[in-house]
Symmetry: C2
Subunit: 206 residues, 2 copies
DNA sequence: TCTCCAACCGACACCTGTGTCGGTGGTTGG
DNA sequence: CCAACCACCGACACAGGTGTCGGTTGGAGA
């Protein structure tokens, strides 16, 4: 232990790379892709600007890499929170809780992945769209039986509208929660899940 | 009538200003504030770049003006579509229909006003936040009686969560509709309103 | 301890965008 | 018809961003 981690100035390439990615997540989330400069990210990573180019081909390359990593993290974390079994109602509640929990712990990741950021770059927009449709698909299959029971066949307009409203609505709640952190996960989850399952007039019924 | 409108090259100041604002709405919506350049907007308005500075102090000034105008238009159009009277359920349906209709007719306005665009500029972000809370307030008062009947007092956490989920969820549907224009306003409105009023398992019941 | 790889950086070239200024010519009221 | 106003523009100065290159030095393996 001749060189403690705190004193070490020169990191190994993977470690530095990881720090750059972490910094990039924050800066991209805070300012958006276009407004975030490589200089900002490098400074946040505690390194000179050119070091970034030793690890990533370009700013766009870094961004795509960040998207990939964060999307995988989100799928893993949210997916793990969903118990496949149980009544539809409990499954819904578990999913909402998992997403809200993830969004609370990694607000920057949520923002980068979910908030619609127009970049004008075809490749970047395509990547974001791909992630989004994957999420939609996942939710659609999760709710498949419940939707079918309500007479909404898979792929129908009505089913797609329902799924879209669920996803964006819950994400909106996540955004609200981020700005009002006093509320507890339980109460927020409860209200959201009950609204979606019972409807507005029956919110009080469990 | 020596100079017809089609041949006229030199517009009056207000007319030119209006065209610049219209072009700015499109460009800002397509690329976001930071990535949209004054040159892009000027070209879209069919005019040289410097003309823009004869009408607006700066790019930021133009943006704030655009936000103001579009927000007013949205409030007017959506507000007009809401019938104050009627059962809570019908009021909800009318509001959803009004918003979806607006979003369909003016997709760029919807995008600029509602999609969360991080600019990093305090004044701009503050303006957007102001518009957003105003919208939230409007929806909250509209649903006030229904929320109270469900035991959610005005201003409570639960009430705010419900309102947030409604707004963002319906906006998500608007976004979906924009990318799937085949669906009719009636069916989309119907599904969204029924989901929010009846809950997922009772979607089929009218 | 010595050596050598690679993590790191300063300086440079280039591009794109914003905002300014002086001038030019279409348009219109007299 | 003509003179003055003002809508319009080209060219400029400047700021800030991206990506490159050659050199420097920490630190791990011998």
């Amino acid at each position: 232990m001749s060189t403690s981690e705190a004193v070490r100035r020169r990191l190994s390439a993977p470690a530095r790379r990881e720090r750059i990615e972490a910094a990039a997540v924050e800066v991209f989330a805070a300012r958006g892709y276009d407004a975030a400069s490589v200089g900002d990210i490098a400074r946040a990573a505690g390194v000179s600007r050119t070091v970034l180019y030793d690890h990533f081909r370009s700013k766009r390359d870094l961004y795509l890499h960040v998207l990939d990593t964060q999307n995988a993290a989100m799928l893993a974390e949210v997916g793990a929170g969903i118990t496949g079994a149980g009544a539809g109602r409990d499954r819904m509640r578990a999913t909402v809780a998992a997403y809200l929990s993830f969004a609370r712990q990694r607000p920057s990741a949520r923002r980068i992945l979910v908030d619609p950021i127009p970049t004008g770059d075809p490749e970047l927009d395509r990547a974001l769209r791909t992630f989004r449709t994957a999420r939609t698909q996942a939710v659609a299959t999760m709710l498949g039986s419940d939707l079918a029971r309500s007479g909404l066949p898979h792929g129908s307009t009505a089913a797609e509208v329902v799924v879209e409203l669920l996803i964006t609505g819950v994400d909106g709640v996540a955004r609200w929660w981020q700005e009002h952190p006093v509320a507890t996960l339980d109460e927020v989850t409860d209200v959201a899940a009950r609204l979606l399952w019972n409807g507005l007039p029956r919110l009080a019924t469990p």
